[in-house]
């Protein structure tokens, strides 16, 4: 174990602060007391081998799983135990590891869904949009803005399932942008896509942070992490073993061994 983990000793200055999270699946303790925080405008990268608990941590913080123990707050208010849609309503968004674009919806509809969900739930909780036109020109125009922000050039009426994997990731990112979240979790945003596509992704993620969003991402590609992250959190076997800037953590021998196998 490397020296004590000072930057992550959670004070309450972050937008999202989590303390001492524990989670076990059956006999396996996946998280054994993880603490940390996400800060607006900062990109925090979670790295570590498979099974370190990174995805589980993201699932706890986005409401998809409930922890056995621990606390997490968004702007000082508890978020644990809330369902994902409530957390989305409070500004927490997620890009899934397996993308999860809506396969039988058009590209445009994929983005419109996110706009509609944000407007109706976050701003007007009792408005189901029962009669407002889901394909109005106003919505379509807004959706096109998000699509062009990610540089999407495919036919917007094509079904999402017919897109390449890389384009589905871009689409999922456009959908995430349309949610206008304050805090986003990106689970392996560039896994399985070409370098060219990944290079398109980097500035988009950076823009997101520059706009004041707290960005958390999981990534195995260390060069990508180095080029993006303000803060790197190294996890192994359910605990945080190191954290700091990318160059800092990579100067530690044990971290390098765990992350890069060097």
């Amino acid at each position: 174990m490397i020296n004590s983990i000072s930057p992550l000793d959670a004070d309450n200055s972050g937008i999202l602060v989590f303390k001492d999270l524990h989670k076990r699946f059956g006999d396996i303790a996946v998280l054994k007391g993880v603490s940390g925080k996400l800060v607006p405008g900062q990109i925090s990268a979670f790295v570590g081998p498979n099974g370190a608990g990174k995805t589980t941590l993201f699932q706890l913080l986005t409401g998809e799983l409930k922890p056995d123990r621990g606390s997490a707050t968004l702007n000082g208010q508890n978020i644990l135990g809330s369902s994902p849609y409530r957390l989305a309503g409070r500004g927490i968004g997620k890009l899934f590891q397996d993308v999860r674009a809506f396969p039988n919806l058009s590209i445009l509809d994929n983005v419109i869904v996110a706009i509609v969900a944000r407007q109706s739930y976050r701003d007007k909780p009792f408005d189901f949009g029962l009669v407002r036109n889901g394909r109005s020109q106003v919505l379509a125009k807004k959706a096109r803005e998000y699509l062009s922000r990610v540089g999407f050039d495919a036919n917007e009426e094509a079904l999402a399932k017919n897109l390449s994997w890389g384009n589905q990731k871009l689409l999922a990112l456009a959908r995430l942008l349309a949610g206008e979240f304050r805090c986003v979790f990106l689970d392996e945003p560039i896994a399985g896509i070409s370098t060219l596509m990944a290079n398109r992704m980097v500035p988009l993620i950076r823009e997101l942070a520059e706009a004041g969003v707290a960005v958390a991402l999981i990534e195995h590609e260390i060069t990508f992490v180095e080029s993006l992250a303000n803060d790197v959190i190294v996890m192994n076997e359910g605990v945080v073993i190191d954290s700091g800037s990318a160059s800092e953590v990579l100067s530690h021998a044990e971290t390098r061994e765990i992350c890069l196998g060097l």
Binding site: T62, E64, S83, P84, Y85, R86, A88, G89, G93, K94, F96, R100, A101, F102, P103, N104, L105, S106, L108, D109, I112, V113, A114, V116, A117, R118, S120, Y121, R122, F128, G129, L130, V131, R132, N133, G134, R135, S136, Q137, A140, N155, E156, E157, R175, G179
Partner: protein, 350 residues
């Protein structure tokens, strides 16, 4: 494709038209065309046979378009739609029947109100919607195959109650002499008069459902159908949306049931059994779901097919069985070559 750049020269009407999703081709003319066809048929022939067919078509249109909201949009294959259909029929019947001249029947059941037509119809819809909402609270704890079985169970329970609780609605004996509609002193006595009342009702309700299909609500249901985890992560309260869909669908199914009861004037539980629910799901599978054209086409075929069979002149003893075989064969063939149904958007199923 036309959505990419709506050209500035287009009048607003055309722009709105182009916003229609391409897999839902011009349902507006279809509705009006149907309406026109109904009127023409009515006045040209006016035989009971044709008007009877059209009434049944209207009732099944209500059933299929409402089930489409849950199954085609929400992606939840529900086998309890016939139960809501039955609840509507019975709620209308007991609200209309009264103790009086032929009162022995009405006195033998727990409650018979003797209300006029309009309150009874509204009551039936409200009871149906209430049951739809209650059922959604239980069944929406499940998804996929488990949801299918939960709704199947609900269908069996409601059927059993209607069939066995004799004091409630006379069980297997059924209710007879259910009053036909009386609207502001105008009594509808034969089936073409009945059609005059039903056409505007069906057009209004199906038109309203069509608007709901195209609404933000419809889009959210589709997102839920496509990927519920992703839908929730964008902020869609999927359970709430599905519950609302089931409530609306059950209310419309109950309206269909009330129409049926007021039309045939005799009901018993066998009209609202599991096989009726299966028939409705099959109808949706055949026509296709997720848009308006699918259920309309499915209903047309399923209502017309048995009648077409009549003209083939099969002996009565085998006609029913042959019809089942044809339904089965049609469905199996469709699953193979066209899983989304004849005019549907996406495969109906879990």
């Amino acid at each position: 494709m036309s959505l990419i750049e709506p050209s500035k020269e287009l009048p607003p009407q055309a722009v709105r038209h182009s916003a229609q999703s391409p897999d839902d081709p011009v349902p507006a003319w279809m509705l009006w065309g149907l309406l026109l066809l109904l009127i023409v048929l009515l006045y040209a022939w006016r035989p009971t046979y044709v008007s009877h067919l059209l009434v049944m078509f209207g009732i099944y249109l209500l059933l299929s378009t409402s089930l489409n909201l849950v199954t085609g949009f929400g992606g939840l294959m529900s086998f309890s739609h016939a139960a809501f259909y039955g609840i509507g029929a019975y709620a209308y019947a007991v609200a209309r029947l009264q103790a009086g001249p032929s009162g022995d029947q009405a006195e033998s059941i727990i409650w018979a109100a003797g209300w006029p037509f309009v309150p009874a119809i509204l009551f039936a819809m409200a009871v149906g919607a209430l049951f739809g909402w209650l059922v959604s609270l239980v069944t929406l704890r499940f998804r996929g195959d488990y949801f299918v079985f939960a709704t199947l169970g609900i269908q069996m329970i409601i059927f059993s109650v209607l069939y066995n609780w004799v004091e409630l609605v006379r069980g297997p004996y059924g209710l007879y002499g259910i009053p036909r509609p009386d609207l502001f002193g105008w009594s509808l006595r034969d089936s073409w008069q009945y059609l005059l009342m039903l056409v505007p009702v069906v057009t209004t309700v199906v038109g309203a459902l069509w608007i709901v299909y195209r609404s933000e609500f419809g889009l959210k249901l589709k997102a839920m159908r496509e990927d519920e985890r992703a839908a929730m992560s964008t902020g869609i309260a999927t359970n709430r949306m599905a519950g609302l869909a089931m409530t609306i669908a059950a209310g419309v199914a109950a309206l269909a049931g009330a129409s049926y009861a007021s039309y045939v004037t005799y009901i018993d539980p066998t009209s609202f059994s599991l096989s009726e629910s299966i028939f409705l799901v099959a109808l949706l599978m055949l026509g296709g779901a997720g848009n308006l054209t699918g259920p309309v086409v499915g209903t047309l075929i399923m209502v017309a097919l048995p009648e077409a069979m009549r003209f083939v002149g099969l002996p009565d003893a085998v006609a029913a069985n042959v019809r089942e075989i044809i339904y089965g064969g049609l469905l199996a063939g469709l699953m193979f070559w066209r899983p989304q149904g004849i005019a549907g958007e996406r495969f109906v199923g879990t």
